[in-house]
Amino acid sequence: MLEVKGLAVDYYTEEGIVHALQGVSLEVRPGETLSLVGESGSGKSTLALAVLGLLPRRARVSGSIIFRGQNLLSLSEEEMRKLRGDRITVVFQEPLTALNPVFTVGRFLKDVYLTHKGGSEREAEERALEMLRKVKVPAPEKVLNSYPHELSGGMRQRVLIAASLINEPDLVIMDEPTSALDVSVQAQIIRLIYELKEQVKASFIFITHNLGVAASVGDRIAVMYAGKVMEVASKGELFSNPLHPYTKGLLASVPRVSGGEVKPIPGTVPDLRNPPPGCRFHPRCPYRFEPCDKEVPELKEVEKGHWVACYLWR
């Protein structure tokens, strides 16, 4: 479905070159949900934008992103435009500002449909209504004629989710879709996403900085740190058998219902303009040993379906 291989992204800024992603390899299988988890600044959004072909001009990209047999990085802007919003869709973090204030919800949804599918206004309107019902918007006929400022954040995010599914895409990327919402609304939206992903054929990449949320939505989890994928495994495997020192640290820092101490990982996230050589986690790693600051450890399948980028597991 989607196969990312050796993806590197550098942002050329006035303050220097930010090595946001380095040698990232990932696979998303048909119909599955891959949760991408990592602290803020670990490169999750950069990865999402790379897949969508929406990186800013100052970004340099290398590697390959194979989607349904073609390398997205070698497509033209026009070819990418046709995929975006149709085969690959996205829901961003900020529902409050993600909708054009001058359009009604109906106009927006119909445009997403008509841009790619063509057809009549009537068809588009029916489809828009159907989608609003699917995302459980109350009084969908009324919402169709509402302007974004008349809707709450949660309602707007439902509209954006409806837009991401209206064209029956193959891949839906959700980049922290609940992070900007109130806690009570977050839970509702996560439940909705969980239900929807069971109903539709699409694969999902679900991005979050919260391990608990990643586990509740994802089939598999990829852990990112400082622009690298550190560990990938099914969620059961990852929680019961974390192998990467960073994943272990993350799990130890999550507050448990059963009590127990919360232990944050000592140290800070590195400056990606000047990332640590070798393993990017080595300055904070309690297990680091002699090869760690020399060569970059690559992702290796240590057990069936369980991948780790760490010299402890060779």
């Binding site: 969508l52 929406l54 001009r57 435009r81 046709k82 995929l83 975006r84 919003g85 149709d86 869709t89 996205v90 961003f92 900020e94 500002t97 993600a98 909708l99 054009n100 204030p101 001058v102 359009f103 445009d111 997403v112 841009t115 790619h116 400022h149 954006l160 837009a163």
Partner: protein, 277 residues
């Protein structure tokens, strides 16, 4: 939300007073053919320089033409020049300023440089220069005044569009596969327009004044078209002996410009935009 804004605007004294003056000015300009008592271009020489009387409330000018009628028709001329020149400048400014912000890179740099140079000229000098090059006449005055307004609208639109460009819905538009054309015209432009519209009302006042100034200097609207600046210019010889010839167009000009300025300032206070020139 919009109705609350309108109510707040109507409670603002500047908006109310300015708005009434602007409305009166526009109505007089539009209705000139129906409310003007005489033909503004015809007069009897033997009636020249008559003081105000019941027959000619504002008196007559050196050619015996009714000054009230000429003031009324002058409103029409000012209305045409101001609306056309501001509209022209707004349309061009919105497209150029919007593209400058949208495209960025060297296009933006080039446009910004050129606009900086244009803005370095004192306001009326640019209009004077253009008027001197293209010659007098109604269309040329419109062109000259439009050109003098143009760089300001480019700058305001660029600033506003740069802010809108960072809005997530612009990126979201690209994420749903909208073409660049649509992103620009349906997402960026309509959302960046508010400060441009406020500035347009302020520039209307300045444009009326500039057009009158050009005509006063003989570079603007040509006789016999009635125009306030030119009427005042014609009255220079009779400054003391027949002051009514310049006083009435002068007062009309003053009140109109004041009205637009009050209205624009009031709107500005109500909407309180962040963009300044």
């Amino acid at each position: 939300m919009e109705s609350r804004l309108v109510r707040r605007a109507l409670r603002n004294r500047n908006v109310k007073v300015g708005g009434l003056i602007v409305l009166a000015f526009a109505l007089i300009g539009i209705l000139a053919p129906f409310i003007s008592p005489y033909d503004p271009t015809k007069g009897e020489l033997r009636d020249s320089l008559l003081p105000p009387s019941p027959e000619h409330p504002f008196g007559t000018d050196q050619l015996g033409r009714d000054i009230l009628s000429r003031v009324i028709w002058g409103a029409r001329t000012s209305l045409i020049v101001a609306t056309a020149s501001v509209l022209l400048a707004v349309v061009a400014g919105v497209v150029v300023g919007g593209l400058s912000a949208y495209l960025g890179g060297w296009v933006d740099e080039l446009i910004t440089r050129v606009i900086d140079i244009m803005l370095a000229f004192p306001d009326i000098l640019l209009a004077l220069f253009v008027a001197a090059v293209v010659g007098p006449g109604l269309e040329n005055v419109i062109l000259a005044v439009a050109l003098y307004n143009f760089p300001q609208f480019v700058r305001i639109m660029r600033g506003s569009a740069l802010q809108v460009k960072e809005m997530e819905y612009v990126e979201a538009a690209r994420a749903i596969g909208e073409s660049s054309f649509n992103v620009f015209f349906r997402y960026l432009m309509p959302n960046a327009l508010a400060p441009v519209i406020i500035h347009a009302t302020l520039r209307t006042a300045a444009s009326i004044l500039t057009a009158a100034g050009l005509s006063f200097l003989g570079l603007g609207v040509q006789p016999p078209t009635p125009e306030w600046g030119q009427m005042m210019s014609d009255a220079r010889t009779y400054l003391v002996t027949a002051p009514h010839v310049w006083v009435f167009p002068g007062v009309a000009l003053f009140v109109t410009v004041l009205g637009f300025n009050l209205f624009g300032d009031g709107l500005n206070d109500v909407l309180n935009p962040k963009v300044e020139v």
